[in-house]
Amino acid sequence: MTQGLQLGEVKADPNLTPLLDVVLQLIMFFMVGVSFVSNQVNAGIDLPTAQSARPMEKGLIDVLFLNVNKDGQLEVVGQDQPLTTPDQVNFYLTQQYSDLKRLDRDRGGKGVVNTVVILRADQRASYREVYDLLRRVKEAGFTRIQMRAKTKT
């Protein structure tokens, strides 16, 4: 870089180190702030807004997300098409429940399912569809449920 420098020529050597420092700091900020879409949470669901929605429990690990789209259909992770028929929904919920039961037994438990079902329903879905799903959740054997809503700021 400096080999071709002749006598009397001005060498412009910008100090890039502070610039690099700033850029690295910005990278750190965005790395920490970036929220990769969780594989269980569907970002396309437009949640309703509620003032009384409380901050989420951080220690909650055993959860089952149920994403309900605007047409009231249950969207399942790993499936392109949502579940449309009641039989499909029932089968999915029952299968999930028995899997969780088996998992608890494998861990040395008594086969008790303490999984919290988290309902993320689109605000445009109709009440009947949401109620029907809740009913099916109950019938499948789940006992704990939480609903998700956007918090008012």
Partner: protein, 179 residues
């Protein structure tokens, strides 16, 4: 420190240059990646909900439910029930038209606006036991957001102050009771 090292090396006749430019290029690429991936989404919060009682869930008609001493859920009948009604005219089915509230002292009280319902809940709040459960029912085609509005009012400590909220079956889906 870095400058001092550089000076020392220059004095020794060897100049070591750290190529900052490729590092900066890489840093900019990473920066661009994270900027594009950064989507600050609206904060999500949680709301507790009681699941529909089994008896109510299985039977469309209340008369079909056979309460038994062994299943306490079946005999659970909420103290307060709020029913959100729609016009059911095929056009405004997704919006509330009026609200019906039933309490132990006031059966089927009609309220036309959400503000009226909130006022009513505020007035009743002092009398209400904190452990009381409120059941929300709505016509089947009503948008879920309006149900959450009512649930929000019920759970809000400044309005309803209830701790337990549950959903009931849509009244318009229940088969007509035989006379």
């Amino acid at each position: 420190m870095f400058g001092e090292k550089k000076r020392r090396k220059r004095e020794a006749g060897i100049e070591v240059e750290l190529p900052i430019t490729p590092m900066l290029d890489m840093a900019f690429q990473l920066f661009a990646f994270f900027v594009f991936m950064y989507h600050p989404s609206a904060l999500e919060g949680q709301m507790q909900l009681n699941l529909p009682p089994s008896g109510e869930a299985k039977a469309a008609d209340k008369n079909d439910v056979q309460p038994s001493e062994s299943d306490p859920e079946l005999k659970l009948d909420s103290e307060v029930t709020i029913t959100i009604k729609t016009k059911q005219d095929g056009i405004n089915d997704s919006m509330p038209s009026h609200y019906m509230i039933s309490t132990p002292v006031d059966t089927a009280h009609r309220l036309d606006r959400l503000e009226d319902l909130e006022e009513y809940l505020k007035r009743q709040r002092s009398d209400a036991s904190k452990d009381e459960e409120v059941t929300i029912k709505a016509d089947s085609r009503l948008k879920y957001t309006y149900v959450i509005q009512i649930m929000d009012a019920c759970l809000n400590p400044k309005i309803g102050g209830f701790k337990h909220v549950g959903f009931g079956p849509p009244p318009d889906m229940e088969p007509p009771k035989s006379k």
